[in-house]
């Protein structure tokens, strides 16, 4: 008998990471709360483990100590010989990889949710690393449907050079959760309540999947990264312009060629070049000044997932 759905193994091990960036406080305090009282993240037959991934950065309320933890989960860094000279975050990445990976192995956790905030006006955002992942497309479809009418966007970071080695990438199914706008070092109740709902729906989906529920084919709209755009700079490399007021807070909204993008400090407007409409994300994110990223351009596309159902247990 032919089956039209993709049969997959049930999910057994789930982790929820907070504090990968120590000043993104929603994940920090949700995870701390769940470490004390995890009732709301428990589901029958599922192991769900919360973890503060960068405790030193959390303690100092800073993004990182030596380098960005969310960029060092590549096989080169994970394979380096342990030494005191390694940046703190690389040592910590190796510890996390031992506990929740090893990356690309059978033993790794099935799903890792990594909780982030942004200063950009991105609302509820799910970050997808692989466009062919039926299970996560189905999960994101479920979360989006459950959150409606609250919008929830999907950012696809699949790209030959711009994809980065995330903390969650050690799992078979990595899920980035990004909610904003929230200043770094601030904990807003509205943002916390939204992120909490996203996790609830995600865990409910996994539970339903494990129970053998079949999810019919679905489609979701995603925004795929095209390129990163730096601030205009002067000869000394200093930032010479701000995000234009017309673009500020307009994440996910169409930006057309000829629309204002930057305003220089002496008052000149800089327009979007090129000939295609793009969708900006991470507009004016505080942490990306040092990464030379004023915003990222994305293109909108639709991803389809086949029907999925877990193998009976």
């Amino acid at each position: 008998m032919t089956s039209h759905h993709v049969a997959e193994e049930p999910i057994k091990k789930v982790a929820i990471f907070g504090g990968t960036h120590g000043n993104e406080l929603t994940g920090v305090f949700l995870v701390k709360h769940w470490l004390e009282n995890g009732t709301e993240i428990q589901r029958m037959g599922l192991e769900v483990k919360p973890l503060i991934t960068n405790p030193k950065a959390v303690k100092k309320c800073t993004r990182y100590i030596d380098c960005d933890l969310n960029r060092v989960f590549d096989l080169e860094n994970l394979g380096k010989n342990i030494s005191e000279d390694l940046p703190y975050e690389v040592r910590r990445a190796q510890e996390i990889n031992l506990l929740f990976g090893p990356k690309n192995s059978e033993d790794s956790y099935d799903v890792i949710f990594d909780l982030h905030n942004t200063t950009s006006n991105m609302g509820c955002t799910l970050i997808l690393e692989d466009s062919r992942n039926d299970f996560l497309i189905q999960m994101f479809h479920y979360i989006k449907t459950s959150l409606a009418p609250l919008p929830c966007y999907v950012y696809l970071i699949e790209h030959p050079s711009l994809k980065y080695a995330t903390t969650r990438s050690i799992a078979k199914y990595p899920v980035g959760i990004e909610v904003g706008p929230q200043p770094h070092g601030v904990l807003r109740a509205d943002i916390l309540n939204q992120m909490r709902k996203m996790i609830k729906h995600a865990l409910d989906f996994i539970h339903d999947f494990n129970e053998g529920k079949e999810f019919p084919p679905c489609a979701i709209e995603v925004y795929k990264i095209m390129e990163k755009v730096d601030y205009p700079r002067n000869e000394s490399g200093e930032i010479a312009a701000v995000i234009h007021p017309n673009l500020q807070d307009q994440d996910w909204k169409p930006l057309h060629p000829g629309d204002p993008v930057f305003l220089t400090l002496d008052g000149k407007t800089i327009l979007l070049g090129g000939d295609c409409t793009v969708y900006p994300v991470f507009v004016n994110e505080a942490a990306y000044y040092e990464k030379k990223e004023a915003f990222a351009k994305t293109t909108k596309l639709t991803l389809n997932a086949r029907s999925i159902r877990s193998l009976s247990r």
């Binding site: 305090f29 200043p183 070092g185 995000i243 007021p245 400090l265």
Partner: protein, 319 residues
């Protein structure tokens, strides 16, 4: 109400300080810009001096390196014997005291305008020490009249008997501009333009005063500090909840007894138990977590500010 003496000479030595907190970007970028192109700061009777107050913190995009610079301009710090072990900001405060002071001396600058941002929804807030500062009250009133669309509010920070500690206290007079909401480390065009326009209006007021303009008495409204409220905490001192959605972003709005102020992670509401209505400000300011402040309570005052007389002496009555 007793008032402080008003200036009887033109204000010629004026400084505009940005980056007193290194991650409050409107002032950081304005100070940097004016250090290269000071045209905005020139007036017929004076040219204001731009100062990047905390360059090390600015370079690191942090509030401070060792301690909060804007709490370091006290006599104790400014006059203690210098040592190589001094915190960076203590050394820097002494340098600024040499440049812009010395505090409480005749050589001190006439006026300091200090530029800040907050993550709280404070809109346009003018910070002065107290209601007796007639010149500052007139400046604030002038900004309110010139920029009605900004609904500028006046916040009085000094509590009775408290020694001044902020950078503006090094000069003979000064105010702070506090614009929000803006995340730390982010430069928003709207706040940058607003800050720039406010600085221009402040300098215009000083110019008018220097040119001999008199300003009539008026009735002022201001928010004066009456206390601070900390977050709910666990036994370990960690946060047990955060600002309630019904209080978040409601700076300067009345908070009545019984209204929710915090939401715990367990989902309970914490209610305001004060006895009278207060006006909360700096609600959920990132930099105040470490100070144990979820918001500052103020009371709303109305008071009369006497006229600011013209510098040109009025003709004496004929005997």
């Amino acid at each position: 109400m007793c008032s402080l003496p008003v200036p009887r000479q033109p204000l010629r030595r004026v400084a505009v300080t940005g980056g007193t907190h290194g991650n409050e970007m409107s002032g950081v970028y304005l100070a940097r810009h004016w250090l290269q192109a000071p045209g905005d700061l020139q007036r017929p009777s004076f040219s204001a001096t731009p100062v990047l107050a905390n360059p090390a913190a600015t370079a690191a995009c942090r509030r401070y390196v060792d301690r909060d610079l804007n709490r370091t301009f006290t006599t104790t710090f400014l006059t203690a014997r210098a040592s190589p072990d001094d915190p960076y900001e203590v050394t820097r405060a002494r340098e600024l005291n040499q440049l812009l002071g010395p505090k409480a001396s005749g050589q001190a600058f006439d006026f300091i305008l200090d530029l800040h941002n907050t993550t709280a929804n404070m809109g346009t807030c003018l910070i002065a020490d107290n209601a007796h500062n007639v010149f500052a009250m007139h400046l604030c009133h002038h900004l309110q009249l010139q920029k009605p669309e900004l609904s500028c509010r006046v916040f009085l920070y000094q509590q009775p008997g408290e020694e001044s500690y902020a950078i503006a206290s090094v000069a003979k007079n000064g105010i702070g501009l506090e614009l929000g909401p803006q995340p730390q480390g982010v430069l928003r065009a709207d706040l940058f333009s607003r800050m720039r326009a406010l600085v221009a209006a402040c300098l215009d007021f000083i110019e008018l005063f220097n040119q001999g303009t008199a300003f009539p008495a008026f009735e002022a409204e201001a928010y004066s500090v009456s206390g601070t409220v900390d977050f709910p905490r666990t036994q370990d001192g960690d946060l047990a909840g955060t600002v309630h959605p019904q209080l978040q972003d409601r700076d300067f709005e009345p908070l009545r007894p019984g209204a929710p102020i915090f939401q715990t992670f367990g989902g309970e509401d914490v209610l305001y138990e004060g006895e009278s209505t207060v006006f909360p400000v700096f609600i959920n300011e990132a930099a105040y977590y470490e100070k144990g402040i979820a918001f500052i309570q103020t009371e709303k005052l109305t008071f009369s500010v006497p006229a600011l007389p013209s510098l040109t002496p009025a003709p004496s009555p004929v005997p």
